[in-house]
C-alpha cells in the first residue's frame, strides 16, 4: 500500500516535471511508442522479414498485404523496418550502455585518484579518441567477422571516451564542493563519497548524454551497415536497407524513404528526450528524477 502510494507520487512528480517541457513530453512519448513497437514487433510483422518472393518484387506503397510495399527481392518493407528497428535500436542502446559504463567508471576513477592513475586514464582516453573509428571497425570485422555483437562491441569500445571526459570534468568540480570536503573530514570512505555524493551529481548530465549518444550510435550503425562493414549482408537493418535500395532509387524511391524516415524519427526522438532532460535539470536544479 505504502509502495503503491509512493509509486503514485513518483508518477505525479514525473508528470509535473513534464509540464511546460515540450521536448521532454514529445521525446518521451516518441520513445515510449518506439519501445512498444520493439516489444510487439513479432506480432506486428505481417511477413517474415527475410522471406523473399520474386513474384512480388518492388511493389509500391499501399499494395495489397504489403502496405509499405516490397523490395527488390519481394520482401515486405514494413516487416523489415520493424526487424531493423529491433536490430538497430538494441545495437545502439547496447553500444551506448557499454560506453556509459566504461566511461563513467574510468571518469570517476580518474577524478577520485590523483597522481599516476589519473594520468594513465587520461592518456588512455586520448589514445582511444585518436583511433580512426572506421579503420578500427574494418579491422574488427576482418578479424572476428560481421554480426550484431561485433558491431555493438566495436561501437561501445570506441564511444566511451566522451563519457569518460564529461564524467571526469563534472566529478572533479563536484569534489571541490565543501560538502565533499566535509564528508572527507567526517572520515567517510572514498567509495562512499563517490557513490553517495559524486555519482548522483554526475547522473543528470550522463542521462542526457546517453539519450544523445543513442542517436549518434544509431546513425553510426546505419552508416557502417551502409558501407557494408556493419551488419551481415542481407540482415534486416536500416543501414542495409538503405544500401540495397540505392540501385532502385528512381524506380522505387520508397525503398530509400522508409528506412531514411525511420532513422530520422528515432534520432529526433532521442535528441528531444536529451534536450528535455537537460532543460529539466537546468530549470529545476539537481532534484532527483525518481
Amino acid at each position: 500500500m505504502i509502495l503503491l502510494s509512493r509509486q503514485l507520487s513518483r508518477a505525479r512528480r514525473l508528470s509535473a516535471a513534464g509540464r511546460g517541457n515540450t521536448e521532454l513530453v514529445a521525446g518521451g512519448a516518441l520513445i515510449l511508442l518506439l519501445i512498444t513497437l520493439v516489444v510487439f514487433a513479432p506480432l506486428l510483422m505481417a511477413h517474415d522479414p527475410a522471406a523473399s518472393n520474386l513474384r512480388n518484387r518492388l511493389l509500391a506503397i499501399g499494395a495489397e498485404s504489403h502496405w509499405l510495399g516490397t523490395d527488390q527481392l519481394g520482401r515486405d518493407i514494413w516487416s523489415r523496418l520493424l526487424a531493423g528497428l529491433v536490430w538497430s535500436t538494441t545495437a545502439a542502446i547496447s553500444a551506448t550502455l557499454i560506453s556509459l559504463f566504461i566511461g563513467a567508471f574510468l571518469g570517476l576513477s580518474a577524478a577520485a585518484s590523483p597522481g599516476w592513475p589519473r594520468t594513465l586514464i587520461r592518456w588512455f582516453t586520448d589514445t582511444v579518441i585518436a583511433f580512426p573509428g572506421l579503420i578500427v571497425a574494418v579491422c574488427v570485422i576482418a578479424i572476428i567477422g560481421q554480426g550484431w555483437l561485433p558491431m555493438v562491441l566495436t561501437l561501445g569500445f570506441l564511444g566511451w571516451p566522451v563519457f569518460a571526459r564529461v564524467t571526469y570534468a563534472e566529478a572533479l568540480s563536484l569534489m571541490e564542493r565543501s560538502y565533499v570536503t566535509s564528508a572527507r573530514l567526517q572520515g567517510v570512505s572514498r567509495g562512499s563519497i563517490l557513490l553517495g555524493h559524486i555519482a548522483p551529481g554526475v547522473m543528470p548530465t550522463l542521462l542526457a548524454m546517453t539519450a544523445f549518444n543513442c542517436a549518434d550510435m544509431l546513425i553510426a550503425e546505419s552508416a557502417l551497415s551502409f558501407l557494408g562493414i556493419g551488419a551481415p549482408l542481407g540482415a534486416p537493418t536500416w543501414g542495409n536497407m538503405l544500401a540495397e535500395s540505392r540501385q532502385y532509387l528512381l524506380r522505387a524511391p520508397w525503398l530509400v524513404f522508409a528506412p531514411g524516415i525511420a532513422i530520422v524519427v528515432v534520432v529526433v526522438a532521442a535528441n528531444l528526450l536529451g534536450d528535455g532532460l537537460t532543460r529539466r535539470y537546468r530549470q529545476k536544479g539537481p532534484a532527483p528524477l525518481l
Binding site: 566535509s182 573530514l185 567526517q186 572520515g187 567517510v188 548522483p200 536544479g285
Partner: protein, 603 residues
C-alpha cells in the same frame, strides 16, 4: 565636506518592478517607490538580501532582467524624463548620464581586452574624440582615482590587477563621461576592510556635483559615507531620512531591528554573552610552529609561517586578517585538509600526523568544521536527514532508531522544525542552511568546532541568530570555538581571544576586549580603524594605510608589514620583529603601541 543639496539630479516617482513567476503570476519586487537624489549627495539604499535594493538600481538604467517588468510614473534625470525612452535612447543615456559600478569588477570587465581598451570604448561611444585624446583622458582618470603608474595600468588586463585596483579602474571608467548620476551596487562588498575604506574615501572625493546611489547591505558602510539613507524591506522604503537621523533615531521597527543586529564597537551586541569570558585552560587543539608552503612551477608560496595557535574547551578564539593572510590555510592545516610543511598539529596531546587513518577516525568525532558558504557545504540532492546523519554513518555509531532520535534532537537544538527532515537544502534560506551545517557538525558532540567565516554569507539578522545559537551551544556543551572572521566588530563581541594574521604570520594576539580597545600592532590599529561602524557621529579619522597587501609569493624583507605601515622606520625594513610578550599581549612589532587609534573607543 557635504555639499548643500541644491537641485535634484534624479527624481523618480512610482517605480514598480514585477517578476513573472513560473506559474505565470506576477510578484512585485519593488513597490511604487519615490526617490530623489540631490547634486553632491550620496543616497544609501540599505536592506537585506531580497529587499529589492539592487532591482531599484538596475531599473534606473532600464537593466531589469528579462522576466521582469518595470513600470514608472516618471524618472527625471537632470531635467529629462526617461520614462518614455526606448531601448536605443536608453543606451545613449547609459554611460553618459548615468553609470553603474558593480560589486565584482572582474566579471564586469572583458577579460580578453586591456582595461584601457574598455575605457577608450566608453569615451568614444559618447564623445567625438580621437584615439589619442581618449587615451590621454583615460590615463588622467586613472591617475585621479589613485591608480599608481596609470600609464602602465592602462595597458594591463583585468586579471593583472588586484580587486581594489580593479574597483578603482571601474570608478575611473564610470566617471569618464562625467555622468551626473552614479549607481554603485555593493561596490566594496568583495573587498577587504582596509581596501574598502580606501574605495569609500575615493567615492566621497570623486562625487563633485554628482549624485550617487549606493546600494549596500552594510549599515556600517552606509553610515560612513551616505548623506541620506533609505531602508528597504520587501520592495518598499520603510524609512528615509538623513543618515545620522535614521541611524541614531530610527522610527520604524524594521530599521531598529536592523541597526540592533549590526555589531558595533561602541555598544553592546544584540546577542549578549552571559557570564565572564573564559580564561584559556589546557589546550585541546594545538598547532605548534606550523608552516604550510604551496609550490607550483618552481614558485614557493608560504601561506602559513611558523604559527602557534591553541584552542581549549569552552573558549572562543577569533582568527582575523585580510584575505590572503593565510587564515583558511591555517584552518585547513589544523583540520588535516592541508599537510603542514613543518610543525605539528596536536589534538589532546597526540600528534595528528603520526596517526593512521583508523586511529584518526575517533579524533574526527571530537573536532568538527563549519564551512563559510552554506550554499556549497550541503549536498543539494540529499534530504536534511541524510545530510545531518552523515557523520553518524561515517563513524558507525548507534542503531538506526537511536540515530534518528539523535538527528531530531540536534535539529531542534539548532531551532529547525521537525518537518525539515525530509526536505532538501534548496528549500531553506542561507541562515537555515548554516544551522543545518552546524547541526551536522554538532551531531557527534565535538569538543572543538572550527568555523570558517560562519556568518559572512548571511544577512545581519541571520548573523545574530547564528551567533546566538553558537553561544547557547557553547554554554550547554562546553565546546571550544576557533572562528575565522574578517568582521572585527563581531569578534569583539563573541571572542575571548583574538589572533591577528598578516601574510601568513601572527602579528598580534591577546584578549578580545583589550586588543580591540588598545591595539599594539599598527596593522591591528589600521584594521580596527577601517572597520565600518554603524554608530553615527564617528569621525572619519582613519589610520592611513598605504596600498594593498603585498603578494605572498614575494613577501617584503624585515617586518612584512613595513610596506604599508604608517610608522615604519629603517629598522623595520631590515630586521624581522619576533612575536613577543608585551603587557597582556603577544605582538610582533619593533614599536608596539606607538600607533594609536585616532578616536579611542569607550570601554
Amino acid at each position: 565636506m557635504k555639499a548643500p543639496p541644491s537641485r535634484n539630479v534624479l527624481s523618480v516617482r512610482g517605480l514598480t518592478v514585477s517578476f513573472r513567476k513560473l506559474n505565470g503570476e506576477y510578484v512585485d519586487v519593488v513597490r511604487s517607490i519615490d526617490l530623489d537624489v540631490a547634486s553632491g549627495e550620496i543616497l544609501g539604499l540599505v536592506g537585506e538580501s531580497g529587499s529589492g535594493k539592487t532591482m531599484v538600481g538596475l531599473s534606473l538604467l532600464d537593466l531589469v532582467p528579462q522576466q521582469g517588468v518595470r513600470s514608472v510614473e516618471s524618472i527625471e534625470l537632470s531635467g529629462a524624463d526617461l520614462s518614455g525612452f526606448d531601448a536605443k535612447q536608453m543606451q545613449e543615456v547609459r554611460g553618459r548620464d548615468v553609470a553603474m559600478i558593480f560589486q565584482d569588477p572582474m566579471s564586469s570587465f572583458n577579460p580578453v581586452r586591456t582595461v584601457g581598451a574598455s575605457m577608450v570604448e566608453v569615451i568614444c561611444r559618447h564623445q567625438r574624440k580621437s584615439r589619442q585624446e581618449a587615451e590621454e583622458l583615460c590615463v588622467d582618470a586613472l591617475a585621479k582615482v589613485g591608480v599608481p603608474a596609470p600609464r602602465q595600468r592602462f595597458s594591463a588586463y583585468p586579471h593583472e590587477l588586484s580587486g581594489g585596483l580593479r574597483q578603482r579602474v571601474m570608478i575611473a571608467m564610470a566617471t569618464l563621461n562625467d555622468p551626473p548620476l552614479l549607481v554603485a551596487d555593493e561596490p566594496t562588498t568583495a573587498l577587504d576592510a582596509t581596501i574598502q575604506a580606501q574605495i569609500l574615501d575615493l567615492l566621497r572625493q570623486r562625487i563633485d556635483q554628482r549624485g550617487i546611489i549606493l546600494v549596500t547591505h552594510d549599515l556600517g558602510v552606509a553610515a560612513e559615507i551616505c548623506d541620506r539613507i533609505a531602508v528597504m524591506q520587501r520592495g518598499q522604503f520603510v524609512e528615509t531620512g538623513p543618515c545620522v537621523e535614521v541611524l541614531s533615531r530610527p522610527q520604524h521597527e524594521y530599521t531598529k531591528k536592523l541597526i540592533r543586529s549590526v555589531p558595533s564597537f561602541r555598544r553592546p551586541y544584540v546577542v549578549a554573552r552571559d557570564g565572564t569570558r573564559v580564561e584559556a585552560g589546557q589546550p585541546l587543539l594545538e598547532g605548534r610552529d606550523l608552516s604550510v608552503t604551496f609550490s607550483s612551477r618552481g614558485m614557493q608560496l608560504r601561506a602559513v609561517k611558523n604559527v602557534n595557535i591553541a584552542v581549549s574547551r569552552g573558549e572562543t578564539v577569533g582568527l582575523v586578517g585580510e584575505s590572503g593572510s593565510g587564515k583558511s590555510t591555517l584552518v585547513g592545516a589544523l583540520m588535516g585538509i592541508h599537510r603542514p610543511t613543518s610543525g605539528t598539529v596536536l589534538f589532546d596531546g597526540a600528534d595528528v600526523a603520526t596517526l593512521s587513518g583508523r586511529e584518526l577516525k575517533p579524533l574526527r568525532r571530537r573536532l568538527q568544521l563549519v564551512f563559510q558558504d552554506p550554499y556549497a557545504s550541503l549536498n543539494p540532492r540529499w534530504t536534511i536527514r541524510r545530510i545531518v546523519g552523515e557523520p553518524l554513518r561515517a563513524q558507525n555509531v548507534g542503531s538506526n532508531n537511536e540515530n534518528e532520535a539523535r538527528i531530531r534532537e540536534v535539529l531542534s537544538l539548532v531551532g529547525l522544525p521537525e518537518d525539515a527532515l525530509d526536505r532538501r537544502p534548496g528549500q531553506f534560506s542561507g541562515g537555515q542552511r548554516q544551522r543545518i551545517a552546524i547541526a551536522r557538525a554538532l551531531i557527534l558532540e565535538p569538543e572543538i568546532l572550527i568555523a570558517d567565516e560562519p556568518v559572512a554569507a548571511l544577512d545581519v539578522s541571520m548573523q545574530a541568530q547564528v551567533v546566538a545559537l553558537l553561544n547557547k551551544l557553547q554554554r550547554n556543551l562546553d565546546i571550544g570555538y576557533l572562528i575565522v572572521a574578517h568582521d572585527l566588530a563581531l569578534m569583539h563581541h563573541i571572542a575571548d581571544r583574538i589572533v591577528v594574521m598578516y601574510l601568513g604570520e601572527i602579528v598580534e594576539e591577546g584578549r578580545a576586549e583589550s586588543l580591540t580597545r588598545s591595539p599594539l600592532h599598527p596593522y591591528t590599529t589600521a584594521l580596527l580603524s577601517a572597520a565600518p561602524d554603524p554608530e553615527p557621529g564617528r569621525t572619519l579619522n582613519r589610520v592611513p594605510m598605504r596600498g594593498e597587501q603585498p603578494s605572498p609569493l614575494d613577501p617584503p624583507s624585515g617586518c612584512a608589514f613595513h610596506t604599508r605601515c604608517p610608522i615604519a622606520a629603517a629598522r623595520c625594513r631590515e630586521e624581522k620583529p619576533a612575536l613577543s610578550q608585551h603587557h597582556d599581549r603577544l605582538v610582533a612589532c619593533h614599536y608596539p603601541g606607538d600607533l594609536r587609534l585616532p578616536n579611542a573607543k569607550p570601554a
